[in-house]
Every structure is written in structure tokens, then in C-alpha cells.
């Protein structure tokens, strides 16, 4: 699935990933391929993106995530 992490100042990450871990404000979320459409707010924490065998980690203060048809868009702050 396609993952984009965007902040107001730049795009932090853009690429294909097999798994995304998110600090949802109601508890952690894991997003795999073919996840159902979802909009959630995020709290302070780390986003982990698994791209093949590499794992990227991003620290965020908060934000919002939208998952729609295998596209994960994270608006981070």
C-alpha cells in the first residue's frame, strides 16, 4: 500500500509499505494492506513504517490519518 507522511513544511515519507504503526489517540493502530476506510486522530508518539525489510520511524506531536483504498495519508505535526 502507498504511504505518505506530510507535514506543513515538507513531505516526510512517500513510498510503498507493508505495515504502518500509528499512535492513535484512542490507542495504537496497525494498518496492513486492504484496511477498511478510516479517519483517526493521532497523539504524540512514533509512526513506524515497514518498507520491505527496512523500518522507518518518525516522531510526531499529533495529527490525523486517512486510510482509503490502500492509500495511507498521514497529516503530521
Amino acid at each position: 500500500m502507498r504511504v505518505e507522511i506530510i507535514t506543513p513544511e515538507k513531505t516526510l515519507f512517500e513510498g510503498e509499505a507493508s505495515f504502518v504503526y500509528l499512535p492513535g489517540s484512542d490507542g495504537s493502530l496497525g494498518v496492513l494492506n486492504n484496511h477498511a476506510p478510516l479517519i483517526s486522530s493521532l497523539k504524540k508518539g512514533a509512526i513506524r513504517v515497514k518498507e520491505g525489510s527496512v523500518e522507518h520511524t518518525f516522531q510526531v506531536k499529533g495529527g490525523t490519518v486517512e486510510v482509503l483504498s490502500n492509500k495511507v495519508i498521514i497529516l503530521a505535526e
Binding site: E9, L38, I39
Partner: protein, 292 residues
């Protein structure tokens, strides 16, 4: 006819001024490019945020958020966004004029305060009774020294807090919007209370989203975010417009200097010719006198 030496020194001085203005034009062009890039980088975020916001709020009717509450307008805060430096044509004056006009006309009878982002507005308003910067630190006007989202959102947050505490009933932004390098558009934009999002073909994307935790809370999270973006966008726009205005102003100044140098050179040559003609006349007259 002015004397030769005088004209020569004027030519030199106009030439060196021209060098300065054309250098400033180049610098502004480079800065404009960078400012535009920042806007382009922010655009996907702003667009997506707007999309999610309208997505969430379209299916949520009659929401009374603390930022969208309409009150009787008694206290108005005007956020004046100008530049820190001059030499950019009417850029700053337009903002100041617009604010003075709206204080007199639109907000007559209300209590208006102005918070200045940008040194030029600060210099103008600091002595007037409209000036305020309580809660914004010592120098809210120095934001342009280091224009980042963090700095801008700190200001946005402070404005939001003051609004929800009831200190202001209405907050507006006055700034120049970047249209192209030569044209700036005066903007007078309502910041708070939040205007209901324009219903752009409601239901165009009727996807069944799972909302977590729930719509109300997501909205509560999104609205401050979109307000921060709105202020940041205004600041970036103003920044780009400033460099555009300066570039145009400096371009005109360089052109004017060119014309001036041309005219001065013509005068200089005329004066030189006149003095040569005078000398020849003297020699001829002398020779004639010797003959006779």
C-alpha cells in the same frame, strides 16, 4: 550648462545606485523562488486537511464548536501581516491603509486592537491606541526572521485561546496575497469564528469511514489544525508577495536609473562639445587678431 565635473559625479552616483537596486532585485528573485517553493510544499497538506475536514463535517450537522460560535461583535482583533523591511513599493502601506480604513468604516463602534506580525506594521501601530501584543511574547513581529510552522502555530494557538476565552469576538487577518511577481492582492480574511466549510458537492466521496475515536473529537482536533494552516498560509503568502513586490519595485528603480544615466550622458556630451566649440572659437579669433 552645468559644469562637466558636476555631471560626471552625478553619473557615478546614479550608476552605483543602479548597481545596488539591480543586486536587490536579484536577491529578491532568489528569495521569491524559495518562498514559492515553501508554499508549494505546504499545499498538499492544506488540501488534504481541507478534504478530510469537509468529509468529516459534512456528515455532522449542527455542530457548535467553540471556534465557530458567533457572538455579537464587540471586540475585534486585526492581525496585520506586513514585511520587516521596506523598499518594496506600496506593499506595507496597502496593509496599513486597509486596516485604518476598516477601523473607521467596518468596525466603527467596536473595540478594535491590532497585533502586528512584521516590523513595518509594528512600527506604525506601536504608538497608536490600537496596538496590542499581550500574550504574544515580546516581539510577535519578528516572526519573519524565522518563519516556521512551529512559530506560526504558536501565534495561532494564542489567538485561538484568547478567542475562546471571550477576549475577542472576531479575528481577521489582513495581508497581501501573492498572485504573481508583479501583482499582490489585498486580503481581508475572517480567521475566527470559523466560517462553515463551503459545501463542495456534498456526498461526492461517500465512503463509509471508520472514525476513531469519533467524529466530534476528530473535528475538535482538525479545526485548530486548519486554523494554524490558515495563518501559516497567510504568512507564507505575504512573504512571497513581499519579495515579488520588492523585485518589481527594484526592477523599476533600475530602469529609472538607466534612463537617468542616459539623459545625464547626453547632457555631459553636450557640455563637452560646447566647451570644445568654445575653445576652437577662441583659437580662431586669436589667429584672426594676429593676422590683422
Amino acid at each position: 550648462m552645468a559644469n562637466l565635473k558636476e555631471i560626471r559625479s552625478r553619473i557615478t552616483s546614479v550608476n552605483s545606485t543602479m548597481q545596488i537596486t539591480s543586486a536587490m532585485k536579484m536577491v529578491s528573485a532568489a528569495k521569491l523562488k524559495r518562498a514559492q517553493d515553501t508554499i508549494t510544499r505546504m499545499r498538499p497538506y492544506a488540501d488534504k486537511l481541507q478534504e478530510i475536514l469537509s468529509n468529516v463535517s459534512s456528515s455532522l450537522s449542527g455542530n457548535e464548536n467553540k471556534f465557530s460560535r458567533q457572538r455579537e461583535v464587540k471586540n475585534v482583533l486585526i492581525v496585520a501581516i506586513t514585511s520587516n523591511r521596506g523598499l518594496c513599493g506600496g506593499f506595507n502601506n496597502n496593509v496599513i491603509k486597509e486596516i485604518r480604513y476598516s477601523i473607521r468604516e467596518q468596525y466603527a463602534g467596536t473595540d478594535v486592537k491590532v497585533v502586528s506580525l512584521g516590523k513595518k506594521a509594528f512600527d506604525f501601530f506601536k504608538r497608536s491606541s490600537y496596538h496590542t501584543n499581550t500574550g504574544f511574547g515580546d516581539t510577535p513581529y519578528s516572526i519573519f526572521d524565522n518563519l516556521t510552522f512551529d512559530n506560526s502555530s504558536a501565534i495561532a494557538k494564542e489567538i485561538m485561546e484568547q478567542f475562546s476565552s471571550g477576549k475577542w469576538d472576531k479575528v481577521v487577518l489582513v495581508y497581501n496575497r501573492f498572485k504573481n511577481a508583479a501583482v499582490q492582492q489585498m486580503m481581508h480574511e475572517q480567521f475566527l469564528p470559523v466560517l462553515p466549510p463551503v459545501n463542495q458537492e456534498a456526498g461526492s466521496s461517500k465512503t463509509d469511514y471508520i472514525f476513531e475515536p469519533d467524529k466530534e473529537q476528530i473535528l475538535e482536533n482538525l479545526i485548530p489544525g486548519s486554523l494554524k494552516i490558515q495563518l501559516f498560509k497567510a504568512l507564507l503568502d505575504s512573504n512571497a508577495a513581499e519579495h515579488g513586490a520588492r523585485m518589481t519595485a527594484m526592477h523599476k528603480a533600475t530602469d529609472n536609473a538607466h534612463d537617468l544615466v542616459k539623459e545625464l550622458k547626453l547632457n555631459y556630451n553636450k557640455a563637452r562639445q560646447a566647451s570644445i566649440t568654445g575653445e576652437i572659437l577662441e583659437i580662431v579669433a586669436g589667429a584672426e587678431a594676429l593676422k590683422g
